[in-house]
């Protein structure tokens, strides 16, 4: 069966700069916005774009991610012949084959892509927050028919040196790719979203494997080789919200921005919904003492204290006389009585005992890891 396009979501990264939050889980599985995980955005974009052939490449701490994706039903990716496939490293007669980079991960899953027999392969990263219609990008690609189209987003010139920058001509043809240039000539940053003509990419991958086995990463190896060999590479300019939540501060900030109901992502848009695996929980319960303002809550929350400018995920309990301020509280967290939390990210299932304090600052967000227990000794002694 011939398939037009297969999406490959690269979800194997660790996200080391997220510290405690990715010690036991992959970055794409990190919770975001109260009820989502980061990978939900890429998966929902696939469904909403009408792409139902999705491979998710995992490697680092995949348990939670695999559990989250399951059979893909929450995203409608459990169709009769199509759907989501989790692709993990495997060993073979050639030995163990850990993925050595983004490109190597695709090479090692050649068999999966071949089985789908696609014309195009869409490469996505599982750790960005954005809404994008990949079909529009595919149309753009088909009109120009290059070997590769790279999605780019304009970034402020002052920040351009932090990104992979695509230098283009007036027709958006990519002339040169510069990874984190000291003196950027352009402000079009690669979003790590690629559409390849599969036969061409396949040829490159197979030839490299037969010769130098040099390819590991798209940005470092494949794109420069494509340009060197004169392959047509186009940039596709994306307009809209796009955020790489690679650090604690950026994760916190993106969550804080998300509270705004006028947020550019427009999470309430019924025409481009973000799906996630949900379990049915009782409604949010705000007691007579509750005070919640400029915040977002989801099901299963029980609030007897005060919540300001914060996001609380499912099943979070906030006890009496406690105050949560400018914080992100992940699911299953219990916050006792008379607790003060400010400028913090509280990991899933953490327990903040009565009278404890977790105080960070805007520049230095306090992070409590998954399942951590804070405080509680005083009460036991008493």
């Amino acid at each position: 069966m011939k398939t037009e396009i297969v999406a490959m979501i690269l979800a194997g990264g660790q996200g080391t700069r997220l510290g405690k939050l990715t010690r036991e889980t992959a970055k794409p599985a990190v919770p975001f916005g109260g009820k989502y995980r980061i990978i939900d955005f890429a998966l929902s974009n696939c469904t909403n774009s009408g792409i139902y052939n999705v491979g998710v490449v995992t490697q680092y701490q995949p348990l939670e991610l695999n559990e989250h994706i399951g059979n893909g039903a929450p995203w409608g990716l459990d169709r009769r012949n199509l759907g989501v496939k989790i692709l993990q490293p495997y060993s073979s007669a050639d030995g163990e084959k850990w993925f050595r980079g983004t490109d190597n991960a695709i090479y090692q899953n050649l068999a999966y892509i071949d089985s789908q027999n696609p014309e195009y392969v869409l490469i996505l990263s599982g750790d960005h927050i954005y809404k994008m219609d990949y079909m529009e990008m595919l149309e753009y690609h088909k009109e120009r028919n290059p070997a590769l189209t790279v999605a780019v987003i304009p970034v402020p010139m002052s920040e351009a040196s932090r990104f992979g920058i695509m230098n283009t001509d007036s027709t958006m043809r990519v002339i040169k790719f510069e990874e984190k240039p000291k003196e950027p000539k352009n402000n079009l940053a690669s979003m790590g979203i690629y559409i390849f003509n599969w036969p061409i990419l396949r040829r490159y991958l197979v030839e490299d494997q037969a010769k130098t086995r040099r390819f590991e990463d798209f940005g470092k190896h494949v794109i420069p080789d494509f340009l060197k060999n004169g392959e047509n590479v186009f940039a596709y300019a994306f307009q809209g919200y796009w955020k790489d939540v690679g650090t604690i501060e950026s994760l916190w900030e993106a969550n804080m921005d998300f509270i705004n109901p006028k947020h550019q992502l427009n999470i309430r848009d019924q025409n481009w919904r973000i799906y996630t695996k949900t379990i049915a929980l009782p409604p949010q319960f705000l007691t007579k003492d509750a005070k919640v303002s400029d915040s977002m809550l989801v099901d299963g929350c029980y609030i007897a204290g005060e919540v300001y400018h914060s996001i609380l995920s499912k099943d979070v309990k906030v006890g009496k006389d406690s105050r949560v301020d400018h914080s992100v509280v992940m699911s299953g967290v219990t916050i006792g009585k008379n607790v003060e939390i400010a400028y913090a990210i509280i990991g899933e299932n953490a327990y903040i005992a009565d009278n404890a304090q977790v105080i960070g600052t805007p520049g230095s967000i306090e992070v409590i890891g998954y399942g951590e227990v804070i405080g509680g000794l005083k009460d036991e002694e008493a």
């Binding site: 049915a280 705000l286 007691t287 400029d294 919540v307």
Partner: protein, 383 residues
């Protein structure tokens, strides 16, 4: 537990005119409850947690709202490709009329019979769709096994002075052996009255025997009612359910029992005492509480945006309360919009009601103002 031990028949046949206009075009069981659930969810969850995978639904009129909610019943684990499933039989009212008008002596209960046979279950649990409860059906089955009876009836003890003697509610007395006393007999001195929750467990063979007798007697009704009619001829055990129970039979009881959930003890009794209540999940965004909002003594589902004041009220999914609006003592079903400065007190807004800015809707504790589905309200109303 061995599969196929139990199958379930859920009767959604009762209709109460005191529920109007909430029950226009939907059976009682399809009414929303507890901010995000449907009344049928409580039955379905109890059935699902008992490992039952064959369910027959008998619906009085159109089943549209029920089908829309249940779909493949995946959430309740009743969508196995191997066995079981949800089998629906709607328009029972027409079927009943047809049988009365053309009394042909055919098998009125043919659908029941086929369902019971194909479920390959040994026992059947029969339930009625107007009750909200969280029942451990396994425990009822164990009770049935450990007693020598033909039928086990689930009841709740209601002090006599609190027993609302509505004609459709069935009460019975319990004898000294814990069995259902024949209703005409004198009973033990226990100062209790047993409210029949209209949940019965019995052998499939016994159920078929009762169906045969009903056909012979030309008695055509839902099988829950049938069991009640033939109960005196059998030895019936009584199983006491001590959890939260509500019977939704009027707009007033719909209001009161929804509001019960604002009481933490009752809320916990229904949602956190036994197994979790399962429902179909939607992908609503988290609920937003604005800086100027004030929400106390309230429950909200996801997808809401709240800019105004909400007190002692329940907001279902995707409700918007604009700034300056005040919602007190009210229940707002999903997809409603409360315009800026609007005021609500003792009101139920059915799904999709839009209130213009500044309108004032006032009911009273004894006369709740109910606004029908999808109404666009442009002027003040009182009950």
């Amino acid at each position: 537990m061995k599969r196929h031990k139990l199958c379930a028949i859920l009767n959604l046949n009762k209709d109460f005119k005191e529920l109007a206009p909430l029950n226009n075009n939907r059976p009682v069981a399809a009414l929303p409850f507890g901010c995000r659930y449907c009344i049928i969810d409580f039955m379905l969850s109890s059935i699902s947690h008992a490992g039952i995978d064959s369910l027959a639904l008998f619906i009085n009129k159109s089943g549209r709202s029920i089908y829309d909610h249940i779909r493949s019943a995946r959430e309740w684990d009743m969508d196995s490709t191997i066995t079981g499933g949800v089998f629906t039989f709607s328009q029972q009212h027409w079927k009943h009329q047809h049988f009365l008008e053309n009394n042909t002596g055919q098998d009125y209960y043919a659908d029941h019979r086929i369902f019971l046979d194909r479920s390959r279950a040994e026992y059947v649990v029969v339930m009625s769709g107007e009750f909200v409860l969280n029942l451990d059906i396994d425990a009822v089955l164990q009770h049935h096994f450990s007693n020598t009876g033909d039928i086990t009836v689930v009841y709740q003890s209601v002090p006599p002075e609190q027993a609302a003697r509505k004609p459709h509610l069935k009460f019975f007395e319990i004898d000294e052996k814990g069995a259902v006393a024949p209703r005409q007999d004198t009973v033990t001195g226990e100062n209790k009255t047993a409210l029949n929750t209209e949940i019965y467990i019995l052998k499939v063979d016994t159920m078929k025997e009762i169906i045969d007798r009903a056909n012979a007697d030309r008695l055509y009704m839902d099988v829950g009612e049938l069991l009640w009619s033939y109960l005196p001829g059998y030895y019936a055990n009584a199983f006491e359910y001590t959890g939260y129970l509500a019977c939704i039979d009027s707009a007033a009881s719909y209001y009161a029992h929804n509001m019960d959930m604002l009481d933490e003890k009752r809320f916990n009794a229904l949602f956190h005492a036994s197994k979790p209540v399962i429902t179909r999940t939607n992908n609503g965004a988290p609920t937003f509480y604005s800086e100027d909002s004030s929400v106390t003594d309230a429950q909200c589902a996801t997808g809401c945006e709240i800019y105004g004041r909400v007190c002692h009220s329940m907001l279902f999914r995707n409700v918007t309360v604009e700034s300056g609006a005040a919602v007190t003592n009210s229940i707002i079903l999903k997809d409603c919009r409360v315009g800026a400065g609007a005021q609500l007190d003792y009101v139920i807004l059915d799904k999709g009601v839009k209130l213009e800015d500044g309108v004032v809707l006032h009911g009273t504790p004894d006369n709740i103002l109910v606004i029908p589905k999808n109404t666009h309200v442009t002027q003040d109303l009182t009950s």
